[in-house]
C-alpha cells in the first residue's frame, strides 16, 4: 500500500531539516574567524586574519568586544 501523500511530504521536509541541522553543526565546528566588509551595490570583500588590513580589523573588533563587556547571565 503506498504511503499517504502528506506523509511523503512530511518525510521529505524532515530529511531536509536534518540535513540543514547537520550542515549547521559542521559549520559551527569548522568555522574560523573572518573579517568581511560590504560595499555599495552588494559587493563584499574578505580579509584574512594574517593580512595587514585583516589584522587591523581584528584588533579594532577586539576593542569593541571589550567595550561591550560580558553578557549578563540569565
Amino acid at each position: 500500500m503506498p504511503p499517504k501523500p502528506h506523509r511523503v511530504l512530511l518525510e521529505r521536509v524532515s530529511v531536509y531539516a536534518d540535513e540543514a541541522a547537520a550542515f549547521m553543526r559542521r559549520r559551527r565546528v569548522a568555522r574560523r574567524p573572518f573579517a568581511r566588509l560590504y560595499y555599495p551595490h552588494g559587493r563584499s570583500a574578505d580579509h584574512a586574519q594574517d593580512s595587514r588590513s585583516g589584522a587591523e580589523l581584528f584588533v579594532a573588533a577586539g576593542r569593541l568586544i571589550e567595550v561591550s563587556g560580558k553578557k549578563p547571565k540569565g
Binding site: Y38, S53, L57, A60, A61, I65
Partner: protein, 155 residues
C-alpha cells in the same frame, strides 16, 4: 601633553571617518531619546546581542549600552577608519567574527550602528535589523521598524 595630543588626533580621525558615510547627506540627527528607543528595540529583537551603540553624523554616541557608552565612539571610529582604509571605497557594513564574539557595524542615512554579539549570531538578520533601525531613526517621525519582531524564543 601626549595624552591631549592623542585625544585631539582621535577627534580628528573620528570626524573624518564618519564624514565618509555613503549617504551622509540624508542625515538629520535624531534626538537621544529616539536613539535610546531604537537601541532598546534593537536589543529586544536580538537575543544574541551583548552590547550596541548608535552614533550620529559627527560620531557622537546618541545611545549606547554599558557603563561607558562614550567609549563606543572612538573604537567604532577606529574600526570604520581601518575598514575604509582597506579599499578606496567607504564601507557600508562590517562583519567580523572572532573567537570571543562577533562585531557588526552599519552605516546608513548618515548614522552608524555598532553591535557586538555572541558567536554564531545570524549575520543577515542582525545586519538587516541594524540597517532598518538606522533607516527608521533617520526619518522625522521615528517609530519601531515595521515588519520586525523579536527573535527571542526562536530557539
Amino acid at each position: 601633553m601626549t595624552t591631549v595630543t592623542i585625544q585631539e588626533a582621535r577627534a580628528r580621525v573620528t570626524v573624518g571617518s564618519f564624514s565618509q558615510m555613503p549617504d551622509a547627506a540624508a542625515a538629520t540627527t535624531p534626538s537621544g531619546e529616539a536613539a535610546e528607543a531604537a537601541l532598546g528595540f534593537l536589543t529586544e529583537m536580538s537575543p544574541d546581542l551583548r552590547g550596541a551603540a548608535i552614533l550620529g553624523p559627527d560620531s557622537e554616541v546618541l545611545a549606547g549600552t554599558g557603563e561607558e557608552p562614550e567609549r563606543w565612539a572612538e573604537d567604532a571610529a577606529a574600526l570604520f577608519e581601518v575598514a575604509d582604509g582597506a579599499e578606496e571605497v567607504p564601507v557600508e557594513q562590517i562583519h567580523i567574527a572572532t573567537e570571543q564574539g562577533e562585531v557588526f557595524a552599519v552605516r546608513n542615512a548618515g548614522l552608524a550602528a555598532v553591535a557586538v554579539t555572541d558567536r554564531f549570531a545570524l549575520a543577515s538578520l542582525m545586519l538587516f535589523d541594524m540597517r532598518s533601525t538606522l533607516r527608521q531613526l533617520a526619518t522625522p517621525n521615528f517609530g519601531p521598524p515595521e515588519g520586525t519582531k523579536s527573535r527571542k524564543g526562536d530557539g
